[in-house]
């Protein structure tokens, strides 16, 4: 019976392959006309949000997990009468983009009125025509309270489509008991720490920091050759076992149990980690840090943009922003928060990681936002390193 079963299996397999080929053939006929990336609207004529009277109704917001305190949403609902569906459904910029892109292409936002994404992702979405300009008459608090240093970023000089949610610094986090001498990004590559060092799997933060170690003062203006040179260095350090692994937030566990003694990491995480383990410390690299922001943006097709602007305006009240800052421990973009916290939580108000002084961050550079072919090449090269 063996041969018969065998023969039957082969015939079925052949039939399956034939069916697949046929299906693909049909696909070819029906294919085409997909169109290139043109975006929902014409890039030259970006729509501006149309405000309609007093904010009311409901509002859906997409943000990252653990990026807001427990009080702000209920406070806003009580004050405005707007019902908020606050989704913590963004885990990575690219992943979120991949999920939303087919909808945005059709001019839909999946019912969401606000996304919170990184500067570079905001800029990318805007270029594709996926975002609306904000009507500034709806956000007087932002006009009044946005910190001076964030008012004219190169990617959106007039802040016409982005409102910063939080900012932060990418630098190094060390176990002061195990690696007291690590002060720079270059130190991470010291063979002494082989297998005990980790870097973020974030192209736009890890590679620029290594560029800074190589003497590039502002990586946001770096050439492709400078990017590639830094990536070679990272690739070699990874292949040799110097870099233990590339992580997201999960470096936290490795620092706590001593698997890693120095990592490339985020300022806000370190504030929270240090509270649990005093031996964990975020350090400003001697080369400077990468300073990034994540922005609230209003996608095309967003329902109830009036309520969306009311939310943006609300979180720019210093009292509200103070609640958020106290919880998330990142750098707040709202002026006046320090004064509010000075009364409530003086220790936090003095923390350089939450309220960095300009002298503290003087060597920091903005997170680069390479685009087009350069971006494609960099993404490919970096992922080749991550996948060994």
């Amino acid at each position: 019976m063996r041969t018969e079963i065998h023969g039957r299996a082969v015939r079925m397999l052949a039939a399956a392959v034939a069916a697949l080929a046929l299906a693909l053939g049909l696909a070819a006929c029906g294919g085409g006309g997909g169109g290139g990336i043109e975006g929902g609207g014409d890039t030259n004529e970006v729509e501006t949000v149309k405000l309609q009277g007093k904010p009311s109704g409901s509002l859906t917001i997409s943000n990252w997990p653990l990026y807001i305190d427990k009080q702000t949403v209920p406070d806003f609902e009580k004050k405005s009468g707007i019902k908020v569906d606050y989704k913590e459904d963004i885990n990575a910029n690219e992943e979120f983009f991949g999920k939303m892109q087919p909808l945005l292409q059709e001019g839909e936002s999946g019912g969401r009125s606000i996304f919170v994404v990184a500067d570079w992702m905001s800029s990318k979405m805007y270029e594709l025509g996926y975002l609306q300009n904000i009507d500034k008459s709806g956000i007087p608090n932002v006009e009044k309270n946005l910190v001076a240093s964030l008012r004219e970023p190169s990617f959106d000089p007039e802040r016409s489509y982005t409102v910063p949610w939080q900012s932060g610094m990418t630098g190094i986090i060390v176990r002061t008991d195990l690696a007291p001498d690590v002060h720079s990004v270059c130190d991470l590559l010291d063979p002494k720490y082989k297998g005990k060092v980790e870097m973020l799997s974030e192209l736009r933060q890890t590679v620029p920091l290594v560029m800074k170690c190589e003497g590039v003062a502002d990586p946001s203006k770096a050439s492709e050759a400078e990017w590639m040179k830094a990536m070679d260095k990272i690739g070699q350090a990874s292949a040799s076992g110097q870099i233990r692994r590339f992580t997201g937030n999960d470096y936290a566990a490795d620092l706590i149990n001593g698997n890693a003694i120095a990592v490339v990491g985020w300022s806000g995480d370190a504030v929270q980690l240090q509270a649990d383990n005093p031996n964990i410390e975020w350090r400003m690299p001697t080369e400077g840090c990468i300073f990034w922001s994540e922005d609230m943006v209003i996608p095309i097709g967003a329902p109830n943009p009036t309520a969306a602007e009311a939310w943006m305006n609300f979180v720019y009240e210093p009292e509200v922003a103070a609640n958020i800052a106290e919880y998330v421990n990142y750098v707040t973009p709202v002026e006046g928060v320090k004064e509010v916290l000075a009364k409530r939580n003086p220790e936090l108000a003095e923390n350089q990681l939450i309220f960095p002084s300009s002298s503290f961050t003087k060597k920091c550079s903005p997170e680069p936002a390479p685009s087009g072919e350069l971006e494609q090449n960099l993404v490919r090269a970096f992922n080749a390193i991550l996948n060994g």
Partner: protein
């Protein structure tokens, strides 16, 4: 009337399963196949018989393919070595502990896969007792580590898929007619001979099923490599995940998925050919 009904009954019984398979396997597979031949960037993918995706998939990621099959193969062999004595003990020696031991094999499934894998991060962490012992006996150098290396990934895979190996082997041993072993001994076979010539061949269907159930999912796994491995230990599943979610290069990811499916299919067909269909089907196929 009843004759017609009786003739149609099997088709009705097959109906729900077939619909399920068509909806959730054949249809997605069709779209995946179409996607794998598209070109362009996200938002502008166009169907163009772009076979280069397949060529690139093989030439760019051959290392990860080989690595995946080596890791999955190693995990399968380790799982077999662990599972057979365990299944044997449960089937023949456990007595009244049998149900409890079976439960212990299945119990880890009450916790999610992810949590169990993360637990291994703790078990194999640098300061853990396990690693200290390994360092003491010299298996791991004093300044070396286990986590974020290939052995950690293989250990994770072995652990996670072990029950899939134990249960089929147990099932085939459990239904084995012990009188056959007794007969062998009556005919002056030593215990070893009885095992090699009676027990082992009769449990072959369980071994084949177990190895397939372990090897196939292990080849496509990416969770273990993600948490227990380093950049140099990423498997093909990690590459596919990265292409889908990080590089938004869907066509390449789809092509890689197809190549992975095809390779697994080939490996499995060769394996079944060598081990014999009757080993998989049991007595009935003979």
């Amino acid at each position: 009337m009843t004759a017609v009904r009786r003739r149609l009954a099997p088709y009705f019984l097959l109906g729900p399963g077939t619909i399920w398979l068509v909806l959730f396997f054949v249809v997605p597979l069709y779209y995946l196949g179409k996607l794998s031949l598209e070109s362009g960037v996200l938002g502008g993918f166009e169907f163009s018989w772009h076979w280069a995706n397949y060529k690139d998939a093989l030439s760019l990621y051959d290392t990860q393919f080989v690595r995946s099959f080596v890791y999955a193969g190693a995990a399968t062999i380790l799982a077999l070595l662990l599972a057979y004595p365990l299944a044997y003990t449960i089937a023949f020696k456990a007595g009244r502990w049998r149900n409890l031991m079976l439960f212990a094999v299945i119990a880890p499934f009450f916790t999610t896969y992810l949590i169990r894998t993360l637990a291994w991060e703790t078990i194999l962490s640098d300061q853990s007792p396990v690693v200290s012992v390994l360092q003491f006996v010299g298996v791991v150098p004093a300044d070396g580590h286990v986590l974020a290396t290939a052995p950690a990934v293989i250990a994770g895979l072995t652990y996670n898929f072990l029950p899939f190996m134990v249960l089929p082997i147990y099932a085939s041993l459990e239904r084995l007619d012990v009188r056959l072993i007794e007969a062998a001994q009556d005919l002056y076979a030593s215990s070893r001979q009885a095992f090699v010539r009676v027990t082992l061949p009769l449990s072959a269907p369980g071994i084949v099923a177990g190895t397939l159930l372990t090897f196939i999912p292990a080849s496509g796994d990416y969770v273990n490599a993600q948490f227990l491995g380093s950049a140099g230990n990423q498997m093909i599943g990690n590459v596919i995940q990265s292409l889908y979610l990080k590089q938004t290069d869907y066509p390449s990811a789809a092509a890689l998925s197809f190549v992975l499916m095809a390779l697994i299919l080939i490996i499995v067909l060769v394996y079944i050919k060598f081990s014999g269909t009757e080993a998989l089907m049991g007595e009935e196929a003979r």
